[in-house]
Assembly symmetry: C2
Homo-oligomer: 246 residues x 2
Amino acid sequence: MTDTPPDLETAFAATPPSPQRVPRRKPGRPKGISSEQTRARILDAAERLFADEGYEGAALRDVAAAAQVQLHAVGYHFGPKEALFDTVVARRSVIMTELRLAALEAAKQAAGSGSIPIATLVRDYISPFVLSAGRGDPGWRTYAALMGRLANSPLGTEIIARHYDSTARAYLSEFRRSLPGVPEADVIEGFSAMVAAMLGLCADTGRPARLADEPGEVPGPAESLDTLVRFQTAGFLALQEASDDR
Amino acid sequence: MTDTPPDLETAFAATPPSPQRVPRRKPGRPKGISSEQTRARILDAAERLFADEGYEGAALRDVAAAAQVQLHAVGYHFGPKEALFDTVVARRSVIMTELRLAALEAAKQAAGSGSIPIATLVRDYISPFVLSAGRGDPGWRTYAALMGRLANSPLGTEIIARHYDSTARAYLSEFRRSLPGVPEADVIEGFSAMVAAMLGLCADTGRPARLADEPGEVPGPAESLDTLVRFQTAGFLALQEASDDR
DNA sequence: TATTTTATTGTACAAATGTATAAATTAAAA
DNA sequence: TTTTAATTTATACATTTGTACAATAAAATA
């Protein structure tokens, strides 16, 4: 037993996190560079390393090196590691939240006194994330991978709660209005399934390609959006039908 | 910006991983205890800590302490940390695989020359995992949390591939037979969504309860199985309908 | 019974890590 | 212009961590 398969070693032999040399500079406040640029570079590097190595696995030294910054600059700008992590998540969560709430507001307007179609709710919640991760921007791709990684971890759940639960509740409230008679627990279960599928799609682990007979045919997240919306919408509607039959 | 919410601290102040005292014993091979018991205790403890703290976050010392074993016993029985991790995953994956393949074989027999109903495929793949995690056994509950955590991480994806992709391919093949005309990429996307929802449900992060108006009403994984099957089945069928309309 | 193997305990260590301190230099404010 | 605040370099340190080595005693084998 415990026979170690041949590719175990490669699985664990992760990226040697690029010990890039920090260019030698004079100490003291630099001439041109604004601190915002430095902060952004650090956040970008932290985002990447947290996504690749996890919270515990990412070393602040590697973050600093990847950001072309001295170690202490990280602590100076963001405080302890925990705060850096929280800031990384927060930076893009505010954008995501804004997009989602704006879409929800528009859908409410369009629906007037009626309820919003399920397909609209699904699409409005999912598409900001999927399109951000699916279009070229490597920052958003990394962020999506990080969020997927956070999804089922204890620490990640706390952070997600802090930054995303408010919006989730706003959507859930409309889902319930659009699914009259369906028990709250079922709506939440559907919502959770939808979020899990969204994160899994955008985490971009390469598993779909590995499972496919023709890996070249597997599209990226953005191209899969319509399929995802269709799938999840049908799931919600099936809950409605099941409750009608009772 | 970066205002630190009041509950950030509690989020990161994880469990001080129980530095239980290892009882003083004589060195040398112990009298009654079989090495299998020791191995099982170590695996149980590792399972718990990997699930709670992640691969990087779990320290072998804490594993040893939780297993009531000296540090070196861990390395002696399982080799380096990577191998321990792999063994933890492997131990229950063989059971899960057996259950799933047996169910698939039975479904094939029942279907004869026809194709297996989607609802059957969904249920047969999902239920061994959900029921194992949902029934009381704390070992399986922990394992489910660990697998959820692995799902979207680079390392986790490699390990899952090694232990679960073969079974996944067997099911995917039947899904495709039961969904004629649906592009392979769509079937895989649906399968991925189903797995993500299954893992999210069983990871048991407490998010559903936190999102609910009446947290007491949110059932456990086992009670949610039927809802999950209904939701995912409808999703697959919607892919079929969409391809028929074209 | 004599010898080898197995399964422990106990100690040690080099590498890595988060955090803190000191010094230097520029920008901004008074 | 003088003073204060901001941002960086450079170094240090106590912990933690994975792994290795040495010793011991029970079990298995010859």
